[in-house]
């Protein structure tokens, strides 16, 4: 089974966002970058599929040299080879999707795994864009995946429940928390990951359909009213919610 997993690199979730001088991006000074948390579920699912069915796991990332870190994390978790589509510039999600789709098309995999969302742009769009570009079925927010006889049976989370979905392979899956428990790399897997190869490619498409013109921080909130009498404060709280905030 040929399995592709697409991985991105994002600021650690503890990052306090500061805006850079360009007013368009965050200030990266002191920010530590990690593999996108949802992509760990995708890598884990990919490696489990390999362990069950045999085959190989190829991790692909589109970005600057730094994005090799995301591929290396995938290696530590059990991916076999990596491809970095090397770009010196940042592009919109369509461009990332188009470049990923071109490489995926060339490799002709049986299954392509993504995280459900990157926690920087929060787009939740690349998996389905790749699906549309390659004319392949895609399902996002997946909490269970079963592959048998060239067919995928998928559970997808929706408001208040789930959908049971069928699709033929090759299929594109966006993984949600709950699908598995990503493994912690052990010393052995970390050591063996060092010799795994990362091939570099040039982008096949560049350009931006959308552009950030300005980034802003949320408006600072004025200090709230904090009542300190425990349960005895409740009537006053309810009055405030009713008369001041008018939300009740």
């Amino acid at each position: 089974m040929k399995i592709i997993v697409c991985v991105s690199l994002v600021p650690d979730t503890t990052t306090k966002v500061k805006i850079s001088d360009s007013n368009k991006t965050i200030d990266e000074t002191g920010v530590s970058f990690v593999i996108n948390p949802y992509d760990e579920y995708a890598v884990e699912e990919a490696v489990q599929l390999k362990e069950k069915n045999g085959g190989e796991v190829i991790a692909i990332s589109f970005g600057t040299d730094k994005y090799k870190e995301a591929i290396k994390k995938a290696f530590q978790m059990g991916a076999d080879t990596g491809i970095l589509i090397k770009s010196s510039d940042v592009f919109d999600s369509y461009t990332v999707a188009k470049n990923l789709a071109d490489v995926i098309n060339e490799l002709q995999p049986d299954i392509i795994l993504f995280g459900k969302q990157s926690i920087d742009f929060d787009g939740s769009q690349i998996p389905a864009m790749v699906g549309a570009l390659l004319n392949l079925p895609s399902v996002n927010i997946v909490t269970k995946l079963t592959i048998a006889d060239g067919k995928a049976t998928i559970e997808r989370e929706i408001e208040g429940g789930k959908e049971i979905i069928e699709a033929n392979l090759p299929v594109i899956i966006g993984t949600q928390k709950g699908i598995n428990n990503p493994r912690y790399p052990n010393l052995k897997s970390i050591m063996s990951s060092k010799s795994k190869p990362i091939a570099e490619r040039q982008p096949t498409y560049t350009g931006n359909k959308i552009e950030v013109i300005e980034m802003n921080l949320p408006k600072a909130k004025s200090k709230g009213k904090i009542l300190t009498d425990g349960a005895a404060s409740v009537p006053e709280l309810v009055r405030l919610l009713r008369e001041e905030a008018k939300v009740i």
Binding site: T13, T14, K16, V17, P37, Y94, I119, D120, F121, D122, G123, S124, Q125, I126, P127, A128, G131, A132, N135, P137, V139, N140, I141, E157, I158, E159, G160, G161, K162, E163, I165, E166, A167, N168, Q176, K177, I210, E211, V212, I213, M215, N216, L217, P218, K221, G224, K225, I226, L227, T228, D229, G230, A231, V234, L237, V238, L240, A245, V247, I248
Partner: protein, 334 residues
């Protein structure tokens, strides 16, 4: 070029969702600002009783694709297919000359919008919380880093697709219009079997309760509740004001609550008009997901808990004492 807006609206159990009216109202607003037409599209039962009331929101024309006919054209035993729905919307937009498409960023809208953007060659901004017009051009605002910051987006294309975060845009009644209903024939849509790439075989609804992502009021519980059995306090409080239940990651990871309730950077990002955080410390990842709520109430026994820094109102106290009293007070109001 002249603009033309298509608003896609969702229904559930033959009733339009709240988000449907939000999308219509925003389409109406934009049509005014851009001085252009807007129409509404839905895939629904053609007898949806809500259709006749849409005129009250300023809708002049609704295009309806019969849901059952669509799902049965190839005689297959499916409930629906996202890929086919994406095709219907793309085809309707392209053939009707609509260059601006609006959808709600519900789990449904998020699933189909990226494919529509590719099929219609539109520039796409997901999960918008504000849309304005500057020099005749659309500028969309969207949260990034789970709401730790916002970006204003411009579009390098005349074709634009926007999904609107539920609960953020207002639904506004407008001058009543006589609504024209256009039933779209399935065979005019160029649909083939290969458009049914995914087949929804079953939909299992675990709870009829409103999901956190769509709710206008949320009561969330954290580790301060001490154990899953005590979430009845949260459930009762939520029930007293018709709120949905949310949770911190700590209690989701502990298995006390399902992941679908997790609020935060790796859970759901929410913007209700009222968010009540009970026994939640206010870690940066939690704040990221809920700080855009209009009114935040924190109940925590530690007066220095970070959640108080973003709370509009707070009570320093023990959840086991405060929540039952608050529930009773809320019940008195209704």
């Amino acid at each position: 070029m002249s603009n033309k807006i298509l608003a896609y609206i969702e229904s559930k159990d033959n009733k339009f969702k709240n988000s449907a009216y939000e999308v219509i109202s925003e389409a109406k607003k934009l049509s005014g600002l851009l001085e252009c037409e807007f129409d509404v599209l839905t895939i629904s039962d053609s007898n949806n009783p809500g259709i006749n009331n849409l005129g009250e929101y300023g809708v002049k024309k609704i295009k309806i694709v019969d849901e059952k006919k669509l799902n049965n054209i190839f005689g297959s035993d499916i409930k629906y297919s996202y890929s086919a729905i994406a095709k219907v919307i793309s085809e309707t937009a392209s053939s009707g000359g609509y260059n601006i498409i609006l959808l709600s960023a519900t789990s449904f809208g998020k699933e189909i919008a990226p494919a529509i953007s590719v099929k219609t060659d539109s520039a796409f901004c997901p999960d918008c919380i504000d849309i304005k017009i500057s020099d005749g051009n659309i500028i969309a605002t969207k949260p990034v880093y789970a709401g730790k910051s916002y970006v204003d987006i411009k579009f390098n294309s005349d074709k634009i697709l926007l999904t609107l975060r539920p609960n953020v845009f207002k639904s506004i009644k407008a001058d009543s219009e006589n609504i024209e209903i256009e039933n779209i024939e399935i065979n005019s849509l160029n649909i083939s079997q290969s458009d049914f790439k995914t087949a929804i075989k079953d939909v299992i609804i675990a709870s009829e309760k409103l999901d956190v992502a769509e709710a206008d009021r949320i009561v969330s519980g954290g580790r301060g509740l001490k154990g899953p059995e005590n979430f009845s306090l949260i459930e009762n409080l939520a029930a007293s004001i018709g709120a949905a239940i949310g949770a911190s990651r700590a209690v989701v990871d502990a298995g006390w609550r399902p992941h679908s309730e997790q609020v935060g950077q790796t859970g759901k990002t929410v913007s209700p008009s009222l968010y009540i955080a009970c026994g939640i410390s206010g870690a940066i990842q939690h704040l990221a997901g809920m700080s855009s709520s209009k009114c935040i109430v924190a109940i925590n026994k530690d007066k220095d808990a970070p959640i108080f820094q973003i709370a509009d109102f707070g009570v320093v106290g023990d959840v086991f004492e405060v929540l039952p009293v608050l529930t009773e007070e809320f019940k008195k109001l209704t």
